[in-house]
């Protein structure tokens, strides 16, 4: 979608502001003599400044920072820790500003005032208690956040379309990816949709006793307010003897979403996925979710099935059946040969050895080299695994990524409509 000229000015202003803040953050990072003299690692300083820039640039950038904060294997851990504050420790919306947003039916039934417990890019979460004694979590959307996201997405779209015009990148689906990212971000603004997603996840994962999804109190929900069961102890998640078990339970929940139901929570960073000390895992914030088409879910499952068997040629056929139309001069046989080598070198690896990001990067590089581009529908499911991979790699490197997936892959293929 082309931006009319009169709409370009705010985008140019916004681009200038982004450039200015990023430049300022860089400048502050390299001139933080006091921090360096006091022994703060340079990576922590850089991460802190990047987080600072993301906070100022708004929710779209905070989301990017959240994703980066999980990748301890890609960026230094000190920088990850600095970026981690973007997950839910942003400055909360004052209760005085949040309370008026509550529907009258809820405000009149509260037995105690709101207490802030988490603050994210799009919304803030408060703890409260109903008159009947139930403890609840109330999520309130930040005022005006929809306008900020719309403006940044327009800018990202403009940048993507410009990139697609560069030699060597023509035909790359950057704009399509940005459109899907935009759908995901704007989807997070609709709390009625998130309420429905939480109910769906809770139902889908009901047989995984170690996986808990809060119950939604539908009668109090609105487009900008979400009310759900309060899950205590989230501030202690990620610790305790049960953490490793909890992380594996989380991985299994993701596999269930991906391969069996095709309904995927795409934002499982540590602020939304809580491994509890008792080995259970709590999943919250389902604003960023995707329902895979059944054909896509099956293709995803079939790819993992073939990969577990070391069948690179079949993997190549599946990918070729899902890629966007090949560019001029595409090379199917070269693609197949490279895919076979990629699968051969990756099959059977444990999480400590299997680099999902590296695998995805190589896969996409092979596609580009031979004139193909991935369907953006496959990017988001991959994202859910990539976000999880950093946590898994840190908590339990001995887990065999593919063997854990296998039961879910097989069941996914055995669902009616499967092939």
């Amino acid at each position: 979608m082309r931006a009319p000229p009169r709409d370009l000015l705010p985008l140019v202003v916004r681009a200038a502001r982004i450039g200015g803040i990023v430049g300022l953050a860089l400048l502050r990072a390299v001139t933080d003599v006091r921090g360096l003299l006091s022994g703060v690692p340079p990576a922590a300083i850089a991460g802190d400044r990047l987080a600072w820039a993301c906070e100022r640039l708004g929710p779209a950038f905070v989301k990017i920072g959240q994703l980066l904060s999980t990748r301890v294997d890609v960026i230094p851990p000190a920088a990850c820790r600095a970026l981690a504050r973007l997950r839910d420790r942003l400055t909360p919306l004052p209760v005085a500003e949040a309370a008026p947003a509550l529907p009258a039916g809820l405000a009149g039934r509260l037995a105690e005032p709101l207490t802030p417990v988490a603050a994210g890019a799009v919304a803030c979460v408060y703890r409260a208690r109903l008159e009947d004694g139930r403890r609840i979590a109330v999520k309130v959307r930040r005022p005006g956040v929809d306008r900020v996201i719309a403006r940044d997405l327009a800018l990202f779209g403009l940048g993507a379309r410009l990139l697609q015009r560069l030699p060597g990148l023509r035909g790359a689906p950057f704009a399509a990816v940005v459109d899907q990212l935009g759908d995901a971000l704007t989807g997070q603004l609709d709390f009625l949709a998130e309420a429905a997603a939480l109910r769906r996840l809770r139902a889908d994962l009901r047989h995984h006793r170690a996986v808990r999804v809060p119950e939604v109190l539908t009668e109090f929900c609105r487009r900008d307010v979400l009310v759900m069961e309060y899950m205590p102890g989230l501030d202690r998640s990620g610790r305790g003897p049960g953490r490793r078990v909890a992380v594996v339970n989380a991985l299994r929940a993701i596999y269930h979403m991906l391969f069996i139901d095709g309904f995927v929570h795409c934002d499982l960073h540590p602020g939304n996925l809580h491994p509890m000390p008792d080995g259970s895992v709590v999943i919250v914030d389902a604003g960023f979710h995707r329902q895979l088409a059944d054909s896509d879910r099956l293709a995803f499952a079939a790819f993992f099935y073939r990969m577990s068997r070391g069948e690179g040629a079949e993997c190549a056929s599946i990918v070729l059946s899902t890629v966007l139309g090949g560019a001029a001069g595409h090379d199917a046989s070269g693609f197949r040969a490279d895919m076979e080598e990629l699968v051969r070198s990756s099959t059977g690896a444990r999480i400590a050895e299997f680099d999902l990001v590296g695998f995805a990067v190589r896969l996409f590089a092979i596609q580009r080299r031979h004139g193909y581009y991935a369907d953006p529908h496959f990017v988001f499911p991959l994202l859910s695994l990539i976000v999880m991979e950093g946590t898994l790699r840190e908590a339990c490197p001995e887990v065999d990524f593919q063997m854990e997936a296998l039961p879910f892959v097989l069941r996914g293929l055995m669902r009616p409509g499967g092939a």
Partner: protein
Amino acid sequence: MSVDARPARFDRADPLIIPGSTHHVGLAIRGELKLFFADGETLDCDDVQGMSAVRSSDTVTTTPDGRPTVEVTRLMTHFHSNVTGLLIQQNPSRLNLGRLTGIAPGGPERLLPADVTFDQYLILALRGRLHINIDPLVMEAKEITVFPPIGTTFLSQGATLFYDVADLPGGIAQREPGNATPSLALASQSVCGSHLTHYIDMPSADG
């Protein structure tokens, strides 16, 4: 056909006996054989045992990198699990071929130690239904030093999907699943240690 009465000094590990040899082997599975069902049920079968027969080709060929290799054919498979009622048999409509390839370059005398792989097409009988695999169940053993592979652990690659024969218009002879949905899957990490029960002499037609 008679029960083998070879002299006791005969060395079954002698690589020269591989081409043209036939053996029947009693197998005891000592690993995890799991059946996965669509409803989430997983059936562990850890008491599977039974008989298998394999014949190796008379012809030894050479791989591009100079190693000796010989084709092997699985003639019979018959395993059962008393606990679960699972019966595993070979699908007679398909060849169950495999290959034994020496690790070192050379002629037939270098056939051992070797890597062995089999593509198996099976019929699983369970709970009154018959299920077949379309993709081969690939079994592998690395660096075996005797043949028949007595005491060797075979591993299967990943898992294999099976289809209810009633869902396949071509029955056990069908080669593509078409619109059929897999009915179960078989996965096994470690399968069989084998011990030779007896040789059966099968004289060739040319004497």
